[in-house]
């Protein structure tokens, strides 16, 4: 499985957020800060990341900090994809 190049995940996530929320977000904006998005939306993000990048986000990775910013989500995606790659894909 090829790794998305640096910045691709970020761009795709910003597009997803824009389509879904009709709002333009920055890579380092806290999505869940006051007036931001809900925990329901956090779960949508979990499912979106799993589906789009073929990863499983389980147990210890279900902390809100992993989903707080686009930068954080992109880092999570790259880490889990690298780990899956080590598993012999």
């Amino acid at each position: 499985m090829t790794m998305p190049s640096e910045g691709t995940v970020e761009k795709e996530l910003l597009d997803f957020l824009h389509v879904r929320t009709k709002t333009v977000w920055e890579e380092d904006t806290d999505l869940f800060a006051a007036g931001g998005l809900s925990s329901l939306f956090a779960m949508e993000l979990v499912v979106h990341l799993e589906k789009s990048y073929g990863i499983a986000i389980r147990g210890a990775d279900l902390r809100l900090d992993n989903f707080r910013t686009v930068t954080g989500m992109a880092a999570l995606v790259r880490r889990l994809r690298a780990a899956a790659g080590d598993g012999g894909e």
Partner: protein, 371 residues
């Protein structure tokens, strides 16, 4: 209908037989029935085959849940609890925990999941149960209320605070310090084994905590409840199917004023409403299950929509069914009398009507074009 689903459906129909009314009146399900269904993997059909489960998709599991719900909502509630427990282990646990726990949940052991407390119902941010690390053990203190199936359960999955965040911990029901007391005379799903669970300094190995500490409470609860909501939604489809079947049979055969009830237009209106309710709830559940099976992000909202639509239709539909059946159905234990009480609880459990409406409104608002 796939062959495994058809077999499971026929099997559970035979096992329940005509006993659901007796279970409703006595407030108890036969434990050997639960263990038998559990050992066949039929209480949590979504567990992947690699962990000993049937590995059914959401749509197939949903149809099975609806069928069980049409027979006995208490049994369906136990399925919802077992399924939610398995889903919680699958999502929150690590690989070792999945390997250790999921095969137990598909081989006859029974499980329940605890969220609510006396001061934390719809507002789960008020959860006060504490999971404290002490060396290589954890100590659990808390008091859960209305924990469905806890009366029968071998394993209790309890949500609580841990460190700066939250966690779910797997508590053996027989561990020292665990006290389970059945809720007396619940309004509906009377045999589902609802219980209060008191946890007094329950000491457990540290690996009883699923996934680890510091997780987000809203995210954990949203994740676990998503499964429960889907299961309740399909269970409500079952309630509507049972009501439609009983009511049409009765209205076609009973005569008043010289013709069958169904020929009286005001009665026919009730039948039409019940048919619409069953169809609408089915479509909402099929849509949501399709989203689950495709891993689509809008499964989250589709699930709440399905739960809300199905519970509301079930409550109104069951009331219509009692109205049409009248004295023929107005006795505890009768399918429509059970449906009437069971469906009302479905408007409360796993997110009340009002909580679902707030979530749906919130969802609608997140996709507003800025002005």
């Amino acid at each position: 209908m796939s062959e495994p689903l058809a077999e499971a459906t026929a099997s559970v129909t035979g096992l329940v037989g005509d006993r659901a009314g007796d279970w409703d009146r006595s407030g108890l399900l036969p434990v050997e029935l639960l263990r038998k269904l559990g050992a066949a993997g039929q209480l949590c059909t979504g567990v992947p085959t690699e962990y000993g489960g049937l590995g059914w998709d959401s749509r197939t599991s949903g149809e099975f849940t609806a069928h069980v719900g049409s027979l006995c909502s208490s049994l369906r509630s136990v399925m919802t609890s077992q399924g939610m427990a398995a889903w919680t282990v699958e999502r929150l646990g690590d690989e070792a925990q999945r390997r250790a726990l999921l095969p137990r949940l598909t081989s006859g052991e029974l499980a329940a999941v605890g969220f609510s407390e006396s001061q934390a119902g719809s507002d789960l941010s008020g959860i006060d149960t504490r999971i404290t690390v002490d060396g290589d053990t954890v100590v659990v203190d808390g008091h859960k209320v209305w924990m469905t199936a806890a009366h029968y359960a071998d394993l209790l999955i309890v949500f609580g605070r841990m460190g700066d965040g939250a966690a779910a911990v797997v508590v053996p029901a027989r561990a020292p310090g665990v006290h389970v007391q059945r809720v007396a005379d619940p309004l509906g799903c009377r045999a589902a084994g609802h219980a209060e669970v008191r946890l007094d300094s329950v000491r457990l190995p540290a690996d009883s905590v699923l996934g680890g500490e510091g997780l987000s409470l809203p995210l954990l609860v949203t994740t676990a409840l998503a499964y429960g909501r889907m299961s309740v939604a399909w269970g409500c489809v079952g309630i509507l199917r049972a009501c439609l079947a009983a009511t049409t049979r009765h209205a076609a055969s009973r005569e008043q004023f010289g013709q069958p009830l169904a020929r009286h237009q005001l009665v026919a209106k009730h039948l039409a409403d019940l048919f619409v309710a069953e169809q609408v709830a089915s479509r909402a559940c099929e849509h949501a299950s399709h989203r689950w099976d495709n891993g689509s992000p809008d499964m989250v909202v589709a699930t709440i929509l399905a739960k809300h639509v199905s519970a509301g239709h079930a409550a109104r539909g069951a009331a219509s069914a009692v109205q049409v059946m009248a004295s023929a159905g107005a006795q505890d234990g009768h399918p429509v009398a059970r449906a009437y009480r069971d469906a009302k609880l479905m408007e409360i459990i796993e997110g009340s009507n009002e909580m679902c409406e707030l979530l749906l409104a919130q969802h609608a608002l997140t996709s507003v074009e800025p002005t």
